[in-house]
């Protein structure tokens, strides 16, 4: 019955209860929304780092001047560029290289299955060390001719057939979500992509200039041999091999890391501002409501409530509004962030990988707990004052 006094009092003061609940909801909303977004960006960056999977990338010089390469790898744009295999062989001769593997890029035309072009990436299963380990997580077998592996954001499923330049390709596997350019790309073996390139050429759709597709690669991925410094290899390649550009992946990512740090800072400031403001308003509301309710507390005292019970009443009301507001805010945050994560990702232009469901649930619980605790902390001051209430003096003040 005492519990129902808490609830009845809350119901009897709808405006105050609504203000407290909405405020705590706002706190929970910002902290959960902000945390999920920042965590997703961190995970996105982490995923990008591990997906790039190489210390160094070597591309034809033209690709870097047109920003083609960065756009493909970092932004998930479509595009292609090629260099002669001879240049690739020269690169391979540089000192300090541990692993080296070529990749082949091709952009599908916006026909057939796909309403917009898709980036197709070919790799050499013999030497590849960046894509194969990732594919292996979702596909055990080896890729046959005209088998493709699709990124998670592509609306195609295992067993489907996609047509590229008139070549029918079977979807052998679908990758887990990475939050990076992997998600919208199609992967296939060097053998398949060569035939795709040839078909596209036959259709007159890709411009290879004078390059011979069977003797071209798009880029080279390199891991430094043990004990070698990637920076030195990069310098070595850029110095000795003409018309290629070697790039340290770490540097490529640093731009993204900067962007992420900026967004994180903004979100952090936002959360802090909302919390400080929320705390102040909560404190005010509790203090005001306690002043306004002094008389009611005196009545309870007369009816036999102990000081502890009065403090308990204030605290319980704070807990109830905190819990209601916390749950409401968390639901709002989840409804805003989870379904719209792709829109947020494209708006931010940064790799974005939502945390696992369990982590989100944990964050949500933490956000609720934090709102409840904040409400309780704001109420504690008032509860302390209430517990020191001088009933006789309050009743006297009535005269």
């Amino acid at each position: 019955m005492k519990q129902s006094l808490v609830l009845r009092d809350l119901a009897g003061r709808p405006v105050r209860t609504a203000v407290l609940t909405v405020l705590t909801a706002l706190l929970a909303l910002t902290v959960l929304g902000g945390t999920v977004i920042v965590t997703s960006l961190r995970r996105g960056l982490g995923a990008l780092e591990s997906r790039l999977g190489a210390d160094i990338m070597v591309v034809p010089y033209e690709a870097t001047t047109q920003k083609k390469f960065e756009n493909i790898v970092l932004q998930g744009a479509t595009g292609y560029f090629y260099m002669d295999s001879a240049r690739a062989e020269k690169v391979a001769q540089c000192a300090g290289i541990g692993q080296i593997s070529p990749q082949y890029f091709l952009a599908s035309a916006s026909s057939g299955c796909c309403s917009i072009p898709v980036q197709i990436i070919g790799f050499d299963p013999e030497t590849d060390f960046t894509i194969t380990p990732w594919i292996r997580r979702s596909y055990g077998g080896s890729l046959q001719k005209n088998d493709i592996v699709v990124g998670n954001d592509l609306n195609a499923f295992v067993g489907d057939t996609l047509k590229f330049y008139g070549v029918e390709c079977r979807v052998a596997a679908k990758l887990d979500r990475t939050g990076t350019y992997f998600d919208t790309a199609v992967f296939t073996s060097a053998e398949t992509i060569r035939s795709l390139i040839a078909s596209s050429q036959a259709l007159g759709m890709n411009d290879f200039a004078d390059a011979d597709p069977s003797k071209s690669v798009s880029c080279l991925l390199i891991n430094a041999a043990e004990g070698c410094v990637p920076e030195e290899i990069v310098n070595d390649i850029n110095l000795h091999v003409k018309r290629v550009k070697a790039i340290q992946t770490k540097e490529m990512i640093s731009g993204i890391a900067d962007g992420l740090a900026g967004v994180s800072a903004v979100i952090g400031i936002l959360i802090a501002a909302v919390w400080v403001l929320g705390m102040v308003i909560l404190l005010l509301v509790f203090t005001m409501s306690v002043n306004e309710r002094k008389k009611e507390f005196a009545v309870l005292r007369i009816a036999g409530a102990s000081r502890g019970m009065l403090a308990g009443l204030v605290m319980k009301q704070a807990l109830v509004t905190g819990l209601l507001g916390g749950i409401g805010g968390v639901l709002l945050a989840l409804a805003a962030v989870l379904p719209f994560h792709t829109a947020i990702e494209s708006r931010l232009g940064l790799p974005f990988l939502l945390p696992a469901a369990g982590t989100v649930v944990l964050f949500a619980l933490a956000a609720i707990l934090l709102s409840v605790l904040t409400g309780a902390a704001a109420a504690a001051v008032s509860a302390l004052r209430i517990s020191r209430i001088d009933t006789a003096l309050i009743l006297r003040g009535e005269n």
Partner: protein
């Protein structure tokens, strides 16, 4: 007394959310635009279907706001629930959307329609329950 006010709020919520679904699919969270050759992609037809469902829901919402009989109201509210859920799952589940999840129809239209549709369903279901309760109380009185 108290129930009446709650019902009024719920009626208004159903009507406004339905109208938002209707107008929003065309203006705010529409699907991908036309292709370069002027043709439409799949998602356009999903958008059209959601728009039509939105009109039906808005009309139902108007009925809910104007009909007085408790029993009738409860019936209309209950009818809105499956309609709203159907609208919510029209994009992709009923009418497939575009190829890439990063495209507008996936990233904006589908989640917006989902959230709105589910909200309408929840409001309508609550409306139905409260209406039934009110009808029972009226019978008793």
């Amino acid at each position: 007394m108290k129930n009446n006010r709650k019902l009024l709020i719920l009626d208004a919520a159903v009507l406004l959310l339905s109208a938002a679904l209707c107008i929003g699919t065309k203006l705010l969270f529409h699907a991908c635009g036309a292709k370069e050759d002027g043709g439409w992609m799949n998602c356009h037809w999903a958008e059209c279907a959601v728009f039509a469902a939105g009109i039906a829901l808005t009309v139902s919402g108007l009925l809910l706001c104007t009909v007085k009989g408790r029993g009738q109201r409860a019936g209309i509210a209950l009818g809105i629930v499956p309609a709203a859920l159907t609208a919510a799952f029209l994009p992709q589940n009923v009418i497939p959307l575009c190829m890439m999840n990063t495209m507008r129809c996936h990233s904006v239209m589908r989640p917006a329609v989902m959230v709105l549709g589910c909200l309408i369903a929840v409001c309508a279901l609550t409306d139905n329950i409260l209406s039934l309760k009110a009808a029972k109380e009226e019978d008793r009185a």
